[in-house]
């Protein structure tokens, strides 16, 4: 790999919330690096700052302090629309509660990020079908979220995350709302996606889920407490 070519590089990121007099340091000088093609899990107990971290990584929120480079670019000075563009182009989100639009069919849900990219209808259709194929849900493309099981909904969400061919797939407790068996199915899907070269960051509080990743990053009280070493083939800079 080339020098310092991390997908994600965080340097002393801080994020504090003030509620009344109380100040919560959701992220407290957190630093981490994730390289392209990695499958990393971020684990920590409830309230440790995992979701806050995911929001910063996913450009849904900006840090109060510290530097964050995504694909080598600092997003510090980005406007809201610039961030929307980055999210649209580079990041595929998978949420614990799926976050599908209930009024749209599976197909339309997957199509949405492509519409925001102003991609032509014909290409959109091809790519939506390919993504649904990838998660094995072509048959259900006309169904609305309400008509799908939890596992199927999460697969639609993964298809939506995949369809833009993002640099990074960011999943926050993707199995949290699913039973063990369905959760395992979803995890298998992530493994396959990883094998095909996708970079995956998976956030969880569940050790057994976290163990399935290549590498674990542990977080506690907003601090990164333990970073497993990079595996062979990735230079630790």
């Amino acid at each position: 790999m080339e020098n310092s070519r991390y997908m994600i590089e965080m340097d002393n990121i801080c994020k504090t919330y003030e509620i009344g007099d109380e100040i919560v340091k959701a992220l407290d000088h957190a630093s981490l690096q994730i390289a392209e093609g990695e499958f990393v899990s971020i684990i920590g107990p409830s309230g440790s700052g995992k979701s806050t971290l995911m929001n910063v990584i996913g450009c849904l929120d900006v840090a109060d302090e510290g530097e964050y480079y995504l694909d080598g670019l600092s997003i510090k000075e980005y406007s809201e629309d610039d961030l929307a563009f980055v999210r649209n182009e580079k990041i595929g989100f998978v949420f614990q509660n799926f976050n599908l639009l209930s009024k749209l069919s599976a197909k339309e849900n997957v199509e949405l990020p492509l519409i925001y990219q102003k991609i032509q209808k014909k290409e959109r259709e091809e790519r939506v079908l390919a993504a649904l194929e990838r998660v094995n849900l072509v048959k259900r493309k006309e169904h609305r979220p309400m008509e799908l099981s939890g596992g199927q909904q999460q697969r639609v969400a993964i298809a939506r995350a995949l369809v833009t061919k993002p640099s990074l797939i960011l999943a926050d407790e993707p199995t949290g709302n699913l039973d063990t068996k369905t959760g395992e199915e979803i995890m298998r899907l992530f493994h396959e996606l990883h094998e095909q070269g996708n970079t995956i960051v998976l956030i969880t509080h569940d050790e057994s889920v976290a163990d399935q990743a290549e590498r674990k990053i542990r977080i506690l009280d907003g601090k990164v407490t333990e970073v497993a070493p990079f595996e062979s083939g990735v230079n630790n800079v």
Partner: protein, 391 residues
Amino acid sequence: MIFQSIKMAVDSILSNKMRSFLTMLGMIIGVMSLVVLVSIVNGATSSVTDSISQIGTNMLTVQILDDKGEPFTLDEVMGLSEKESVSATAPFSQGSATAKYGSTTENITLYGTTGSYYDIEGLSLARGRFLKNTDVKNSTYVAVINSATAENLFERSNVVGEIMSIDGYHFTIIGVLEEEESTIGNTSDRLEAYIPYTALSKIMGSSRQITSFYVSSADGNSMDMVEQEMTMYLYQRLGDTDSFSIVNSSAVMETMSSVTDTMKLMLGGIAAISLLVGGIGIMNIMLVSVTERTREIGIRKAIGARKQTILVQFLIEALLVSVTGCLVGIGLSALTIFIINNVASSLSASMSLDIVLISIGFSMIIGVVFGIYPAYKAANMRPIEALRHDT
């Protein structure tokens, strides 16, 4: 992209039919009151201006109420046309009589006048000629009839040279007027005959003195001048202003149109207020909708919707509600106006393209003005907060 936004807006309107309908109802009622009220004023205006312009707008009607023992003669009245601002004068009297031809008998309105009446009134002939000064001098029994009379009495239009009886006197038809195109309809059914002024006083057994006459101006724009000159003349002749009256129909028309304009503006204003209330309804419902759909907005933003995209989406929704409401309102207005015209005989309403365009324009403005704040609010939601929103 814009197509997508419209589709989304339609979906969201349809997904809450009752609510969307009630919101539209505000616009519908507003547009209906605007269009219907203004159309009624329009109708009233055109029927009034019609009857005024039938009298003619380029002339004065002079009435002598008290001649102080010195009656106006034909020569004196005709002599008034010598005045600088006056083009022509025509004495005028009116009576009704029974006209007979063959076995047909009809009631007829008689106008006693002179040849200049033709130009003053702006009449036009279909056949024959109008009255001449010699007819008046010799009190000849000749008549010019309108087309309705020809149709009703003779049942054909070419009747020049025929003889009809008016109250037992035999009158030769010398001319037939062209059919009137009247917007009010019923006046053209009236049977009318124009006969020499002197002939009318003869058969009516009245005196030859003139109590009313028309004066036309030498130049269409100088009606006020003619009025001034006539007032001066009559004041000198009669000694006071109570003995005569002058009606300047162009002045009446002006007053009339300024009154109806004011009325239109006032009623339109009141109706516009109800449209405004409709707009507030839209804003209210859009705010509710934005709150309800906070999570949706969050998801859209998370996967890459820009501010503008969200703004346009909600703005289109507001516009769609207001414009659809407006179009429905216009449709219902047309129906209401149709019913008014066919049921209420005393009212006649006419819907103009102007008011339709104005109400569409106004509704669009309302849609944008009252939709922009909710849309702006939606567009500026922060994605994480919107995503965290429960529902």
